[in-house]
């Protein structure tokens, strides 16, 4: 069955994918560790704690210490996953990640729930809109957000298997299950959901579902859409972006500030290649507030309607 025909009403949060996958990985490899910072329940590591207590550490409410401790563990051959919220995992721990994880290129994974606007009712303080951009700037770091439950499981599995620092971002809220269980994903390689010739839409994370809906509608209206799931924004799949330049018209969609995230990464390639036009859909360089998730998306124009409108303007 084509992804475009999938029933998008079946949903699961991608933090659940991390919680499920990390137990499987931990059982396979005794060097996999989880470091919690007092939010194990909402980061979905409770099963890991129950089943693999000897591979678990809880440092309490002390994120900076968690990052440094993970670096120390990594020097002994462990593969620690620090599990926290995206605001803390990117910003509270940033210097520790830079100095002790990325500078010595240690095998530490930062696994973060509550990415983007998904902690909607928690308000602007808890909505991570800069995290991927900030960490994209740090050498040696890989930055990933899967679109749904199964792709996130595959990406977590890969993150455990590749050497080096990886930042993984998950949704707090449920998102449609887009992919089948056996679909394969590779860090750094865009997933081509659909080929097309009039416009290219490049999305990641929880906005892939919106791009998918928009694609269906545009196709109905006779507009041929190429749709990519760019789950890894660093290293960016440059080749996949270059492949969109024969279409020349690109829309990026992300649940992240339009500065420094997916949109910026794509623009860098397009500008360097010297051809093509990009429109970025994402958080409009403004903080969020407590509101329903869909309302926050709407306030930033991260909607199916705006993707369709932008596509039509562009072609």
């Amino acid at each position: 069955m084509s992804i475009l025909e999938k029933d998008l009403t079946v949903k699961k949060a991608t933090r659940e994918a991390f919680g499920d996958e990390i137990v499987k990985l931990g059982k396979e490899n005794k060097n996999i560790y989880v470091i919690d910072v007092d939010i194990a329940k909402s980061c979905k590591t409770v099963n890991f704690i129950k089943q693999l207590p000897d591979q678990h550490i809880n440092v309490g409410i002390a994120e900076q210490n968690a990052a440094g401790l993970a670096a120390g563990l990594a020097t002994t051959g462990k593969i620690p996953f620090v599990s926290t919220y995206a605001v803390f995992g990117s910003l509270r721990m940033l210097e520790q990640i830079r100095q002790e994880v990325c500078y010595p290129n240690l095998n530490v994974k930062i696994a973060c729930s509550h990415g983007g606007l998904t902690p909607a009712n928690d308000g602007g303080s808890h909505q991570a809109i800069e995290d991927m951009g900030v960490l994209r700037s740090v050498p040696n770091m890989t930055v990933i957000m899967g679109a749904d439950y199964y792709s996130t499981r595959k990406l977590v599995e890969q993150a455990a298997k590749v050497y080096g620092p990886v930042y993984l971002r998950f949704t707090r809220d449920t998102v449609p299950m887009i992919y089948d269980e056996n679909e394969e994903f590779t860090i750094g390689k865009a997933k081509k959901i659909k080929d097309g010739s009039d416009i290219a839409i490049i999305a990641n994370g929880d906005t892939v579902r919106l791009a998918l809906e928009a694609t269906k509608e545009l196709e109905k209206q006779g507009i041929s859409v190429k749709l990519l799931d760019m789950h890894t924004i660093k290293p960016l799949d440059r080749e996949a972006v270059v492949d969109c330049l024969n279409i020349g018209k690109i829309i990026t969609v992300e649940d992240h500030n339009i500065l420094n995230g997916l949109g910026s990464a794509v623009c860098e390639v397009v500008a360097e290649e010297g051809k093509g036009t990009v429109r970025r859909i994402g958080v409009q360089d403004q903080f969020g507030q407590s509101a329903p998730y869909e309302k926050l998306l709407e306030l930033n124009g991260i909607t199916v309607e705006n993707i369709i409108k932008t596509a039509k303007e562009l072609i």
């Binding site: 000897d54 591979q55 550490i57 440092v59 309490g60 002390a62 900076q64 210490n65 968690a66 990052a67 440094g68 401790l69 993970a70 670096a71 120390g72 563990l73 990594a74 020097t75 002994t76 051959g77 462990k78 620690p80 210097e95 520790q96 100095q99 002790e100 500078y103 010595p104 290129n105």
Partner: protein, 277 residues
């Protein structure tokens, strides 16, 4: 642990001081004050206490050393050079392009560095991670960390300390180089640390306070903590003098991060060669 006499260790401390001064003088850059205050502790660790192998620096059962106050790396580099981790001539490349002796310790570039450090307050957390791994893997190695007293103004030191106690890391030994000075002046003026011995004790450490320039006291204390497998991490507050061994550097905050000129270098070398008064 290696068999070595107190007198021989004192001689090693002299060599460490001379090497660090030569390194900083050669680079015309680096941190002499804290390097000299830590010299005696470093001599005891690298020439007696720690199980390390210069020919197999990544030996998985080795004792680890975390220089949380990373800017005093000239004293650690001196120990690594004198122990044969790197050729002795490396000391003339401090802070140069391509040198293993970076301005702050870089584990990717220098053999014998167990973790890169340089941003204060962060190293102890790494040491805690190493010590937890040792416990979980049923290894006998220990983790030694040197932190500055000024560095204890960083909150992360205390996050690491509470974790060390929770996980009963009696394989962790924290030295506080209590030289009472930081870049801007005396710690008591910049941000008083109160009683560090009481603070670490309150956190649950087994805490001792010694003269950090008395080789006899350092060795005796290391003998005590080596056998104390009691589930408590150890903290040794070492009362020291910044710039120790060089009269014009002692207790002078301005010698935190300044290299001596030629005249000062020769005078300093002469003074440290005679050993501590």
């Amino acid at each position: 642990m290696k068999e070595i006499s107190i007198e021989e260790l004192k001689e090693k401390a002299i060599q460490l001081r001379k090497t660090a001064l030569t390194m900083i003088y050669g680079a015309q850059s680096g941190h002499p004050g804290g390097s000299l205050s830590a010299a005696d502790i470093m001599a005891a660790l690298y020439f007696k206490e720690m199980n390390v192998d210069p020919h197999n620096p990544n030996w998985e059962d080795r004792d680890r050393f975390v220089l949380s106050k990373g800017h005093v790396c000239p004293i650690q580099y001196s120990a690594l050079a004198l122990r044969g981790f790197v050729p002795y001539e490396t000391i003339y490349t401090l802070r140069e392009y391509g040198s293993p002796f970076q301005g702050h310790p870089d584990m990717k570039k220098c053999k014998g560095i167990d973790i890169s450090t340089g941003s204060l307050g962060q190293g102890l957390s790494c040491g805690v991670g190493m010590a937890i791994a040792g416990k979980r893997d049923f290894k006998d190695y220990r983790v030694f960390s040197l932190v500055g007293d000024g560095e204890c103004q960083e909150g992360q030191i205390w996050e690491a300390a509470q974790t060390a106690v929770k996980y009963q890391l009696d394989n962790l030994v924290v030295f506080v180089d209590n030289n009472r000075l930081q870049i801007d002046g005396f710690c008591d003026e910049i941000m008083p640390l109160q009683d560090l011995e009481k603070k670490f004790d309150a956190f649950g450490f087994e805490t001792k306070r010694i003269n950090g320039h008395s080789m006899e006291e350092i060795v005796e204390t290391l003998d005590e903590v080596r056998v104390a497998k009691n589930g408590r991490p150890k903290c040794i507050i070492c009362d020291t003098v910044k710039g120790k061994g060089v009269s014009f550097m002692e207790d002078v905050a301005d010698w935190h991060g300044v290299a001596p000129n030629e005249e000062q270098y020769h005078q300093a070398m002469e003074e440290v060669a005679g050993g501590l008064r």
